[in-house]
């Protein structure tokens, strides 16, 4: 709190406005794309707008990061700045926690209230009058109205790929910790190796996850439109997968920077931010494994 040196306030920057234009194009394009698709209208223009937007966003992210890295390497950031970054990152992760909390809340509501009610149990079991013959069971293989939502043939058991994936992610958290330890002792080689292992494990996780989705779609009839189980299953694992992807990309960038010789034993906020994120993604997975697959 009591730094005497003045806080570094960056000069004006083009990246925020570029990023906003990118967001506008991306999401306007994406919305048009989705709407036209469901109306059976042509989507080419929408694709173009969306793609341009995405490219602008990538351009913005790289440019912005380059600026930040340059400033950081130039030694412009003091301890206070470092704390600001740390707090920024922690609260960002907190917002992600809130997002996943909403998804878990939905899962619990569906499992413990909505589906039993539809099946005729509990305070609002009269609902079953509308869905004669429907029985509440979880996972839901037969939906209240199977003509609208054909249920899945079966669901993915926890003890195959999901368990393997759990082990992979847990291991990746360990390798990441080892890498971090090594960095603190300035053992650069080990830092890089363990971090590379972490990224590789993340990639393997994603590979298996895609494998699992393919299996679900092609053999089990477990799809987004196979009723609430499929809906919530893909929503939760899908968003988690996206987060693994994002975390993996962050760690990959960090890895590249390590190889370039950035980061020191004392000054490695970028590294730590990536690591926090990765651990967060890992914890979410463990919760998913327990509540989506096992229970």
């Amino acid at each position: 709190m009591s730094s005497n040196q003045s806080y570094y306030v960056p000069e004006s920057s083009i990246w925020p406005i570029v990023g906003s234009i990118g967001m506008f194009l991306t999401f306007f394009g994406l919305s048009t794309l989705l709407v036209n698709q469901s109306n059976g209208d042509p989507t080419t223009t929408a694709w173009v707008v969306f793609t341009i937007g995405a490219l602008v966003l990538i351009y913005m992210i790289t440019g912005w990061l380059r600026d930040v890295i340059r400033e950081s390497r130039a030694g412009l950031y003091d301890a206070q700045m470092d704390r600001s970054f740390r707090q920024g990152m922690s609260w960002f992760i907190f917002s992600e926690v809130a997002f996943f909390a909403a998804l878990f809340g939905s899962l619990f509501y569906i499992r413990f209230f909505a589906v039993p009610w539809l099946g005729g149990e509990g305070a609002k079991g009269t609902a079953n009058m509308l869905w004669e013959g429907f029985q509440a069971q979880w996972p839901l293989l037969s939906n209240p109205d199977n003509s609208q939502f054909a249920g899945p043939d079966s669901v993915i058991g926890p003890w195959g790929l999901p368990l393997l994936n759990t082990l992979i992610l847990v291991t990746s958290s360990i390798t990441l910790t080892l890498s971090h330890k090594a960095l603190k002792y300035d053992k650069r080689k080990q830092t890089i190796y363990w971090l590379a292992a972490t990224v590789a494990l993340g990639a393997i996780f994603l590979f298996f996850q895609i494998e699992e989705y393919i299996e679900a779609y092609s053999h089990l009839n477990l799809t987004l439109d196979s009723g609430i189980y499929g809906s919530i299953f893909f929503l939760m694992t899908g968003f988690h997968g996206l987060h693994v992807l994002l975390g993996g990309i962050i760690l990959f960038v960090v890895l590249m920077r390590l190889i370039k010789g950035h980061f020191s034993a004392h000054d490695h906020f970028g590294y730590e931010a990536g690591a926090w994120y990765w651990h967060f993604v890992d914890v979410v997975w463990i919760m998913l494994f327990v509540f989506v697959y096992v229970i």
Binding site: W117, L118, K124, T126, A127, M129, L130, P144
Partner: protein, 260 residues
């Protein structure tokens, strides 16, 4: 252009028309015609008067401070800024007041949820934009739609007393009978509400909500859909004809006779 002119004309008539001819100045909940609606009315008035008292107290305190300690009258500011005792007092007293509100509210709520021992059952289904009524113990089922003339909506003809309220087929119910309602919907969420019965209950597609009533006085009671359900939201009113039990029997016989 002509549409514009028509609208302008309608607006002009509206502004100049004496509105008192049209309406009343209703300011409060109806007491209603069921025991539940009566209790709700009582709770409402109870809570309302407590709030009035609190409000008046707060306003007087503000008024006093503002008038008595005017800078322009040379008031010299005191410097106190803490007093644990008063803080505790004005935490505890509101809490006690709230308990006084909560006790009757709890009892009423428990009563409202007691749908057991119903003598008859009506299933209400919301549609965009009309209601369907099914008498579960009889072979009666029909739709009830608004029959407000379009011309009245367009201000082309005089609006009647039951403007926006009247329907083609009212729901006919016996008095002094505990009736259980099963409320659901066929499309979006609606809400079935007759103020004289004291409650509204949302009609959720795919689920069934329950509520009950025991009408104590014969009469015609109006209600409106109370959950936004699309452009016809203000166009699916409810009309209930509550009739003595024997009259109700006759009506049922008539209906089932016609059908069968």
């Amino acid at each position: 252009m002509s549409v514009q002119a028509l609208r302008a004309g309608a607006l002009a008539t509206a502004v100049t028309a004496p509105s008192s001819a049209l309406a009343e100045w209703g300011v409060n909940l109806p007491e209603g015609v069921t025991s539940i609606s009566n209790t709700i009315y009582d709770i409402h008035m109870w809570v309302f008067w407590i709030c009035v008292v609190i409000g008046v107290g707060v306003f007087l305190a503000i008024l006093w401070s503002v008038l008595a300690y005017r800078h322009s009258k040379g008031a010299k500011p005191a410097h106190f800024h803490e007093n644990t005792t008063v803080e505790i007092i004005w935490t505890v007293i509101p809490f006690l007041i709230l308990i006084m509100m909560a006790i009757p509210a709890t009892g009423t709520l428990v009563d409202m949820y007691d749908t057991s021992d119903a003598e008859m059952e009506i299933k209400v289904t919301g549609y965009q934009w009309r209601w369907q009524y099914e008498y579960m113990d009889e072979d009666i089922s029909f739709f009830s739609s608004a029959d407000t003339p379009r011309d009245a909506e367009r201000n082309l003809i005089e609006k009647t007393e039951d403007y926006k309220y009247s329907v083609d087929n009212p729901l006919v119910l016996p008095v002094d009978t505990k009736i259980r309602f099963l409320i659901t919907s066929n499309d979006v969420i609606h809400s079935w509400w007759v103020p004289e019965f004291g409650w509204k209950q949302d009609a959720i597609p795919g689920f069934i909500n329950k509520n009950w009533t025991k009408i104590e006085e014969p009469g015609t009671y109006y209600g409106l859909c109370a959950e936004l359900c699309g452009q016809g939201h203000s166009d699916m009113p409810i009309e209930v004809k509550a009739v003595p039990k024997d009259e109700y029997r006759e009506w049922v016989a008539e209906q089932t006779g016609d059908d069968g």
